[in-house]
């Protein structure tokens, strides 16, 4: 729900457990309490997408039997799989450009236990129109960080489970060549295309690929996107890493980005997410400003976490049972 600063302070002072997304100028005015937050001035509220520096997005958490809030650095972020509740949910926020986010992005798929613990979250950001710094906030300490992840763990009542899912407008064409990378990294030079060694930037040039289209990896029908950040001097950089031994293809061209997004969210309108977040790339390419996305309200983010870091995707979490 979109709230004013006064309304949010009142909820914190009432002892509510909250997940908050807002511009840094607002988050830094909040009192200590049972909340975590991340910076972004881009929000999706009940009335649609908006860029705001005087409103906050607030999720009130009322389903958990127990909650704990912890921050982690790059050396211990994967303690989340040990410190989470057995039947629970982990909500993580990491600052864009931080080492902890880079570490999480590169290593999460290799952390075997992660898939056994529902983990959802997002990468905090800033107003793209001006220089900014992404931060996360740990409410109990009343502190903010540019280099740590903040995590809220929820213990769920017996008989309830968390289910994380995606709304993704992209898919591949199985007739397209398979791209494989030699290493798991945030930037690459070479790859193989159908087994043939290729400079990846040359391949992009050769095909005339629209960089709005991400690479997609098919995980048994669930497509995980990796978006291109830049192509400079033969090096292709991504917003999330590509992984060795994963088959990629470029997503099929989406002619009507906004329309396709609307169609996909319409298909999922019966969902009852307690949390959702949507990528800044979808917000910009899909012209989501002012567009209603019911029932998917939440922060517009610089990366999404659905177990691992992904891009250009709407991620949501429901509590079932």
């Amino acid at each position: 729900m979109i709230k004013t600063l006064e309304e949010t302070i009142s909820l914190i002072e009432d002892g509510k457990t909250l997940h908050i997304a807002a511009d840094d100028s607002l988050l830094k005015k909040l009192p200590k309490g049972s909340w975590i937050g991340g910076t972004t001035p881009y929000l999706i509220g009940d009335e649609g997408g908006l860029l705001t520096k005087d409103r906050l997005f607030v999720n009130e958490i009322d389903f958990a039997e127990e909650v704990k809030i912890v921050t982690y650095g790059k050396y211990n972020v994967f303690q989340i799989v040990e410190e989470c509740y057995d039947n629970g949910l982990t909500l993580i926020i990491m600052p864009f450009g931080s080492q902890v986010a880079a570490k999480y992005a590169k290593e999460a798929p290799e952390v075997e236990e992660l898939i056994m613990h529902p983990t959802v979250g997002w990468i905090s950001g800033y107003d793209l129109a001006q220089p900014g710094e992404a931060r996360v906030y740990a409410g109990p300490e009343g502190k903010s960080y540019t280099d740590r992840a903040v995590v809220m763990y929820f213990r769920l009542p017996e008989g309830k489970s968390a289910m994380i899912n995606l709304v993704n407008i992209f898919e591949d064409d199985k007739n397209d060549p398979v791209i494989r990378f030699h290493d798991s990294d945030l930037s690459v030079r070479s790859c193989t295309v159908d087994g043939k060694e290729t400079l990846f930037s040359d391949y992009i040039d050769y095909l005339g690929i629209d960089s709005k289209m991400p690479l997609v990896a098919d995980h048994n029908g669930s497509y995980i996107n990796t978006s291109i950040k830049s192509v400079e001097n033969g090096t292709v950089s991504f917003y999330a890493p590509v992984f060795k031994d994963i088959e990629y293809r470029f997503a099929k061209k989406v002619e009507d980005y906004e329309g396709e997004f609307r169609k996909k969210t319409e298909e999922e309108k019966e969902r009852k997410p307690f949390f959702s977040c949507n990528c800044i790339l979808n917000y910009n390419y899909g012209n989501l400003s002012g567009k209603k996305m019911d029932p998917f309200t939440g922060p517009v983010t610089f990366g999404e976490v659905a177990y691992q870091l992904i891009n250009q995707t709407l991620v949501y979490c429901e509590i079932l049972g």
């Binding site: 898939i115 529902p118 994380i164 995980h219 048994n220 177990y307």
Partner: protein, 74 residues
């Protein structure tokens, strides 16, 4: 998990029948186990162990998948 469903899960992991879940984590796990089996065909027992652990841990979510898998045609 009964034997018939176990057999069908094994066939899904071997790619002999296709099953797509509406649960992201389950799809990711299937995909991971399929890769593991491809690189080490003798790892079926450990793959099935992981599938069993996942399905046992989240019975509410697994209920739908188990029913759907049981109904799969070979």
């Amino acid at each position: 998990m009964d034997e018939a469903v176990k057999e069908k899960i094994q066939m899904v992991l071997l790619g002999k029948i296709k099953y797509r879940s509406s649960n992201l984590a389950f799809n990711m796990l299937i995909s991971k186990m399929q890769k593991k089996l491809k690189s080490d065909p003798s790892s079926m027992d450990s793959c099935m162990g992981e599938m069993d652990e996942f399905l046992g841990k989240y019975p509410i979510v697994a209920k739908v998948d188990l029913a759907n898998i049981a109904a799969l045609k070979e």
